[in-house]
């Protein structure tokens, strides 16, 4: 763990100094404790004034120890802040290059925590965990070693006790963790079943099966109860082990000292002093026990950061020979299967999109339309075949460079917390007001801006929550148009069916589409019919490609789809046997 921290901090000198200070702090602590031996022997010898010089030494040791501690705090804080900054930057660097499929729901949570809380936790850990832990470990060892100069059997007993106590601590923690894990396992099943019961309550009740009977719940409840009882096996040792071990150690040390006294090796005063030191020797272990949980959570935090830093990245290949007259976007026999899926999402797809053309991707849900868009933006790498932009494989572009080739508008446009202007300016940070206004007009955003009381300065809320779906799409479109990339990837909204001016937007898009290539996942019939080329997908395969009118005339798959869609829009709710 320490090694990983040092790697994260990156500053070898600072960490070496920190480790030295840690050791020095422990030396002073141990020295203070050992000073008690002459001090107390003096006090109990009948001539208490003899203790005074030793009191002076004790005070000096503790005060110097404080100075070391103060330095230690400062250096811990510096290193912590450094880790905080480097960890965040490096995590971001990595996230910009991972394949998007790597970032599943669980990893997303991990990555978020690595970005937001990990740095702070590590920074705090430096001050409140690493230092006390190191002290708790080093101080007893040094005290034990120091005792050898006074009474070696006692030193031997103390040093023998160290692994015993640490072992008890470790076992105690392991048992507690096992108890927690067992509890979580036992409860998770029941919890999942109960949540299921709640989520499906309407369907279950409609089916007359709302109660616990007839579901797997009864069994899960009984199993949970039995498992909770079995926790005893872990819980009791987890709770008692360390306490028992430390009390036994105390008894053993006291008996050793008493035996040394009885055989005359030690004076009465020395015996008493040594018992006090023995108790002091045991004290740091308790700290260890108190911190164990926090340490394991810090280890989790560090693992989380390292987990992201070790994530796979999309490789950058060499592909230096772009054809002069290459189409803007070309899919060449492209296949892609999601992890764990039983069939490819995209299967042997080939088509090209030329400058000035609009290609509509059409097909039933689940036919692979969105995957095509993701592959064009290289959010994943293809399993077979090549996606080319301007004749060069997307795999040969550096991510930053690739981003310059395309603009994208997703169905659920993601907006960032900030103003409307900020969000559109993401398209081109240095755009002037005229460019901004022009993009807004073309995207139909101008009337939204005019309607909002704060206009361009309206805050869009988290994820753009203060805007409607249609409004968000227009912001996304304005952002894409402002970017003015040679390739525009669009996923048309399905939800905002009643917004009439969507059409105006489509028209505006078409009129300015001449100098770029547009690929649109089209749901609306008028968008489909207005495209130059339709790529009709089914089950990840291209069924038909061609001009929409020609395909309708041909009477194939697309024509059938077209007819159904036409019919659906005129549907009346009437019972039909």
């Amino acid at each position: 763990m320490i090694r990983r921290l040092i790697t994260l901090a990156g500053d070898r000198r600072a960490t070496t100094v920190h480790l030295l200070l840690l050791f020095l702090g422990a030396v002073f602590r141990a020295a203070a404790t050992l000073t008690l031996i002459p001090l107390l022997t003096g006090l109990f010898s009948g001539e208490p004034r003899e203790a005074l010089p030793w009191l002076g030494l004790l005070s000096g040791t503790i005060l110097v120890g404080w100075i070391v501690e103060i330095r230690l705090y400062r250096s811990g804080f510096d290193i912590g802040m450094k880790i905080l900054r480097t960890a965040e930057t490096r995590v971001l660097d990595r996230l910009e290059r991972v394949p998007l499929t790597w970032l599943d729901a669980d990893r997303r949570v991990e990555a978020r925590r690595a970005l937001t809380s990990a740095g702070r936790e590590i920074c705090q850990g430096m001050a409140y965990l690493i230092t006390p832990m190191a002290n708790a470990f080093l101080t007893p060892l040094l005290i034990g070693a120091g005792l050898a100069f006074v009474a070696w059997p006692l030193a031997a007993a103390a040093l023998l006790a160290v692994p015993l106590l640490l072992g008890a601590l470790w076992a105690s923690g392991a048992f507690s963790r096992a108890a927690d894990d067992a509890y979580a396992r036992a409860s998770d099943e029941v919890a999942t079943r109960i949540v299921e019961l709640a989520q499906h309550q309407a369907a279950l009740r409609a089916a007359g099966r709302a109660g616990p009977s007839g579901s797997a719940l009864g069994g899960a409840l009984a199993r949970q109860r039995r498992a909770a009882l079995r926790l005893l096996g872990f819980g009791v040792p987890g709770h008692l082990l360390f306490g028992v071990a430390s009390q036994l150690t105390l008894l053993a040390l006291a008996s050793t000292a008493a035996a040394l006294f009885l055989d005359g090796t030690l004076t009465g005063a020395a015996l008493v002093a040594l018992i006090v030191v023995a108790v002091r020797f045991l004290e740091p272990f308790t700290t260890f026990g108190d911190l164990a949980q926090a340490v394991s959570s810090l280890r989790g935090t560090i693992d989380r950061v390292v987990g992201v830093l070790d994530a796979p990245v999309l490789p950058v290949d060499d592909d230096p020979a772009p054809a002069v007259d290459a189409p803007v976007l070309a899919f060449d026999d492209v296949s892609f299967t999601y992890d764990g899926a039983d069939r490819p999402a995209v299967d042997g797809v080939s088509f090209t999109v030329a400058r000035g053309g609009t290609t509509a991707i059409v097909g039933p849900s689940g036919s692979g339309k969105s995957t095509l868009l993701a592959l064009a933006a290289r959010l994943h790498d293809t399993d077979a075949g090549t996606v080319r932009i301007h004749g060069r494989s997307v795999r040969s572009h550096d991510p930053l460079d690739l981003a310059g080739h395309y603009a994208v508008v997703h169905q659920n446009v993601y907006l960032f917390e900030g103003t409307l202007r900020d969000n559109v300016l993401l398209g081109r940070r240095d755009a002037d007001d005229d460019a901004l206004a022009s993009a807004a007009t073309r995207a139909g955003l101008d009337e939204v801006v005019a309607r909002l009381p704060e206009g361009w300065s309206t805050r869009v809320g988290e994820g753009g929550a203060t805007l409607s779906g249609g409004e968000r799409q227009r912001v996304g479109l304005a952002r894409a148009l402002l970017k003015d990339a040679p390739l525009l990837l669009l996923d048309e909204v399905t939800s905002a069916l009643d917004t009439g001016n969507e059409q105006a937007v489509v028209a505006a898009l078409a009129s300015t589409a001449r100098h770029r290539a547009t690929v649109i996942i089209a749901h609306r019939l008028d968008t489909i019919i207005g495209a130059d080329q339709v790529v009709f997908l089914e089950g990840g395969k291209v069924r038909e490609i061609g001009a929409p009118a020609a395909l309708i005339d041909a009477g194939g798959h697309f024509a059938r789809y077209w007819a159904q869609r036409r019919q659906a829009s005129g549907w009346h709710l009437v019972g039909v046997e």
Binding site: L55, C123, L231, L251, L400, D526
Partner: protein, 850 residues
């Protein structure tokens, strides 16, 4: 400036002084003065609702002396740097005397340290009763400003002058203000409070001290739990130097009046906030017992140290032969063993208790779910169930198996040590407390120094968190627009780091100091130095130093550990409350002897008779609706969004019970039917589909587990899903969920197949189902057409043109039925329907063009 002990304490704790300059003085009534101050330095941290300021008011009689008086901060204006304070001028006292003669330009000092904070409860109480006198009005006004509009508010105020009623109050739609004349009788306010079902109300009482006490007593009689009363005396009669606001009026006994009238006493529902303690009630006795046993265990664990002290005593006094020492060793061993055995038994008992209690809680939740109205099961309440059975249950588990024992141990051990040490040598024991006092002062100063930045810190954390979520959710967008060193999140994280550093670095010294002062080595130094001194001075014998060296060194650390345990205890109590809240949710009324519908061959008829429904009393969503659905007909509900269409339809599927009126099927009230009978008759198809983690076959046959394969396949064919099922890896045996997913439209058709197989006579349908997935709209529509044939159908219509052929159309507006008829009839006459039809025309034309 002489401010006495209080002032010194505040200063020690780090409360800074602020200088307020009077800008203007205005009398709102003859006895109510509003003073606006310029106070730019006050805005270093945000103001709490009903928060107050400690004003240092000069004593007119004794120059140089100051009195502390609390005044609620009104209308803080950060841009202008001004605040307002309001003074009730019907009393004598230093603040009133000062306010009476103050002129613009004068200055006064004030501190901000500790304050009242008002927050609306979660869940929101059923009502708020606010009680006080004119001095309470500024605080009441800020409370009123944050109360939700739909909550009833009773305000009960005592007036000392007739024109007090003219003091402006924050308007609130649910507020009723009652004034009672001030007579000097401290019971006047309490007497004005009538008995009724105050269940789930919250009381805010800020009046004169004796009156506050009386009101609190009366509220307790009504059953108010302590947590639902905020009672704070604002001033004390007969004490001009009282603690807060000042007033003095002669006492005149008053006749008993009930100004907030009593209502016919209903059986009391009780308070939701009690839900937690009710849940824990059966455990309470045993937890207390466990705590007591743990206290004994903790003492036994200290015993070896006492034995050690005794051993040392004997050694030093010279009467320590081998036998004596062996005896002591044996004693220590016996104590140790009995402590361990007792601890073992205790933990075993707690685990057994935990297993049983955990099981009971889970069983209770499972038994509760089927009794709740279906409408309760929203995404939010599913979250509550999840929270209750996962995190909250784990918290309770921790409470029973660990937290109680840990807290008792953490409290008993240092207290026993302290008692022991005081018994041995009180002087040295007192010295041992010095580091703790220093720690207290340092911590308070640090908190006060860092608290200014806490709101900013919270905001930074929230901002970094939400931007990180946005970054990860929007990674495809980020890749296209926001890569590299100029990225937004990078900038935010860097600014966040800079903020953290700028905030924490200056505190580093103090933080180090607070930590060092409680270190065992510090205690060791204190004990060794003071002890050696005392021994040399002959005040204490060296042997008495031993208990301090053995037990006193870690005393500070142990004492501070109490705080951690208490945190988890509080969390467990909150968890118990959340679970309790789920368990006390109102249930559907259940009939003891459920009715049975007469068997009929054809369809069933449904009647909505004067149906009203409200989620919250006084806010009807559906009002007095009468509709009849004739057997085998389609009735469409149309109207603007928010008109109550979905709610009315959901009532027929008994998602909620009507608040007034009745829904009957063939003359029998819905509520009289058993759940099985009801849902065998009424089916529903809504946009939200429940797909169970089960095979396709089981999913379709949910309502008829005994259905044959042929029947299931027939239903699937009718719902146009059969072919898709055949294409699944294991056909009808495919388990839906992670392995095989259906698209939105396919799930809809699965749901329709389920309904076809269940074959209910009455069907509630959301038309949005038909166009939720544009790509399979056509199939879903055809499946729906087959499903509704021959049934009595109530459909929520979003697109008017789909229901033009319906047998009847019911037009709703604001929860009321405004028009009823067929499409041709409704289009022919002016009204809401025709307006909606015309407005929809434009869209329809566009679609027709396509």
């Amino acid at each position: 400036m002489a401010r006495g002990f209080q002032g010194a304490m505040l200063k020690a704790l780090g409360a800074g002084d602020h200088v307020l300059e009077v800008l203007s003085v205005e009398d709102l009534t003859r006895h109510y003065r509003r003073i606006v101050f310029s106070a730019p330095t006050l805005f270093d941290r945000p103001f709490e609702t009903a928060g107050y300021l400690r004003l240092w008011v000069p004593d007119a009689a004794k120059p140089g002396r100051h009195h502390q008086r609390g005044y609620t901060i009104v209308a803080p204006d950060e841009a202008a740097g001004t605040i307002t304070l309001e003074f009730a001028m019907h009393a004598s006292g230093p603040a009133v005397t000062w306010a009476a003669s103050v002129e613009p330009g004068e200055r006064i000092t004030a501190s901000r340290y500790g304050s009242t904070k008002f927050a609306v409860g979660d869940p929101v109480p059923d009502g708020y009763v606010l009680i006080g006198d004119t001095a309470a009005i500024p605080a009441l006004n800020s409370v009123l400003a944050v109360l939700p509009d739909d909550v009833p508010v009773e305000v009960l105020l005592e007036r000392s002058h007739d024109d007090d009623v003219d003091i402006p109050m924050t308007p609130h739609p649910g507020m009723r203000v009652t004034w009672v004349p001030q007579t000097g009788d401290p019971a006047a306010l309490a007497d004005a409070l009538g008995e009724r079902d105050w269940s789930n109300w919250y009381a805010w009482v800020t009046a004169e001290s004796a009156a506050t006490r009386r009101v609190r007593g009366r509220l307790k009689e009504f059953g108010f739990p302590r947590s639902e009363i905020h009672a704070q005396a604002y001033w004390m009669r007969g004490r001009a130097m009282g603690t807060k606001h000042d007033a003095e009026t002669p006492a005149v006994p008053s006749p008993r009046t009930e100004a907030i009238p009593a209502e016919t006493p209903k059986p009391r529902e009780g308070w939701r906030s009690r839900a937690g303690s009710t849940l824990l009630a059966p455990l309470k006795g045993r937890l207390i017992l466990a705590g007591a046993v743990q206290a004994v265990v903790s003492l036994l664990q200290l015993a070896p140290f006492v034995v050690l002290v005794e051993l040392c005593r004997r050694v030093l006094s010279g009467d320590a032969d081998e036998r004596a020492l062996r005896g002591l060793g044996l004693l220590a061993l016996v104590l140790f063993l009995s402590g361990t055995v007792l601890a073992l038994l205790l933990i075993t008992a707690m685990h057994v208790l935990d297993a049983r209690f955990g099981h009971e809680v889970r069983t209770a939740i499972v038994a509760k779910l089927p009794r709740l109205p279906l409408g309760w099961f929203t995404e939010r309440s599913s979250g509550r169930v999840k929270q209750a059975v996962a995190d909250d249950a784990a918290n309770l588990h921790y409470l029973v198996t660990h937290a109680v024992l840990d807290v008792v141990a953490a409290v008993v051990t240092p207290l026993a040590v302290l008692g022991y040490l005081f018994a041995v040598e009180p002087l040295l024991a007192t010295v041992l407390l010095i580091p703790l006092a220093v720690f207290g002062i340092l911590t308070a100063r640090m908190v006060s120094a860092s608290s200014a930045a806490i709101p900013a810190a919270v905001e930074w954390t929230a901002r970094a968190g939400s931007e990180a979520i946005a970054y990860l959710d929007g990674l495809p967008v980020v890749r296209a627009y926001d890569l590299g060193p100029g990225g937004r999140l990078r900038a935010t994280l860097e600014k966040h780091a800079a903020f953290l550093e700028g905030w924490q670095r200056p505190l580093l010294g103090r933080r180090t100091a607070t930590d060092l002062v409680t270190r065992p080595s510090t205690s060791l130094l204190v004990i060794a130095a003071a002890g050696t001194g005392l021994v040399i001075a002959g005040v204490m014998s060296p042997v008495d130093l031993l208990p301090f060296l053995l037990l006193g060194v870690t005393f500070s650390t142990q004492l501070l550990a109490i705080g951690y345990g208490l945190g988890s205890l509080r969390e467990a109590v909150a968890a118990a409350r959340r679970i309790g809240l789920v368990l006390t949710e109102p249930e559907l009324a259940a009939e003891d002897t459920p009715g049975v519908l007469p068997a009929v061959g054809g369809g069933r008829s449904v009647r909505f008779a004067s149906v009203s429904f409200a989620y919250k009393p006084g806010h009807p969503v559906v009002s007095d609706v009468d509709i009849e659905l004739r057997p085998g007909t389609v009735t469409a509900l149309v109207g603007p969004s928010g008109a109550g269409k979905s709610t009315l339809a959901a009532l027929l599927a008994r998602f909620h019970d009507v608040t007034a009126g009745a829904i009957t099927i063939d003359g029998t009230d819905l509520r009289a039917l058993s759940t099985e009978e009801l849902y065998a008759t009424v089916g529903f198809v809504f946009q939200q589909v429940s797909v169970l983690d089960a095979s396709v076959r089981d999913n379709i046959a949910l309502a008829r587990p005994g259905a044959t394969d042929a029947e299931i396949e027939a239903a699937a064919r009718a719902a146009l899903i059969h072919e898709r099922v055949e294409r699944l890896p294991d056909g009808y045996d495919t388990v839906l969920g992670r392995a095989a997913r259906l698209s939105g439209g396919e799930e809809q058709r699965l749901q329709i197949a389920r309904a076809i197989l269940a074959d209910p006579k009455v069907l509630v349908l959301d038309e949005a189902t038909a166009f939720a997935d544009p790509e399979s709209e056509f199939q879903v529509q055809r499946a729906l057409s087959r499903l509704i044939a021959g049934r009595t159908v109530l459909v929520i219509a979003h697109r008017l043109h789909t229901v033009t052929d319906a047998d009847a159309i019911a037009v709703l507006d604001g929860g009321r039925l405004v028009q009823y008829g067929t499409h041709p009839e409704l289009v022919a006459r002016p009204g809401l329907y025709r307006e909606l039809w015309t407005a929809a025309g434009a869209t329809r034309e566009q679609e027709a063009h396509a």
